[in-house]
Symmetry: C2
Amino acid sequence: MNDTSKTFKPPYYAVIFSSKRTDGDKGYSKMADKMVELASQQAGFLGVESARDEQLGITVSYWESLEAIKNWKEHSTHQIAQEKGKAMWYQSFSLRVCKVERDIFFEM
Amino acid sequence: MNDTSKTFKPPYYAVIFSSKRTDGDKGYSKMADKMVELASQQAGFLGVESARDEQLGITVSYWESLEAIKNWKEHSTHQIAQEKGKAMWYQSFSLRVCKVERDIFFEM
């Protein structure tokens, strides 16, 4: 989605992935697009939004359940991306799994 | 902080604020810096990270409790910023309050 126009009915789950990239693309952009496409096909996927500037990237994906997050974590193509991420693409990252309790959308 | 090097001991809380800006700065950057400074002084504040590109901005702030989030929401200077945000700075935004259940940091 990458817009703020979708809200979902709490409770649901969010995965906050914050990362610092290494220099150069090295296949990263292509993989990132592929991961969004694949995640979107997973059962229990609700949406994803992301922003990246020179300092930091933040991607938040939204899911119906912890089980859906677990299944996506273990998806074989995603696991390859996770390994490449550690080996090539990221200097550091943090990953937080959260239960969304309130959800507000405001359009001016 | 705006780095991924801090983790906190779950459970704690995250506020995910995703926004689309209007054109032009109109005092936005100065306000944004001031809000980070003020939030950092609040009881129960843990940290904040944000990223913005041409499409979207995502700011995630981390808090010890729902009460700390409520107090920050009601902070008088923050309330002025919220009103200006609706009037001038944002096309749309979403705001999600979450309980962080798991927290991983990985440095390569």
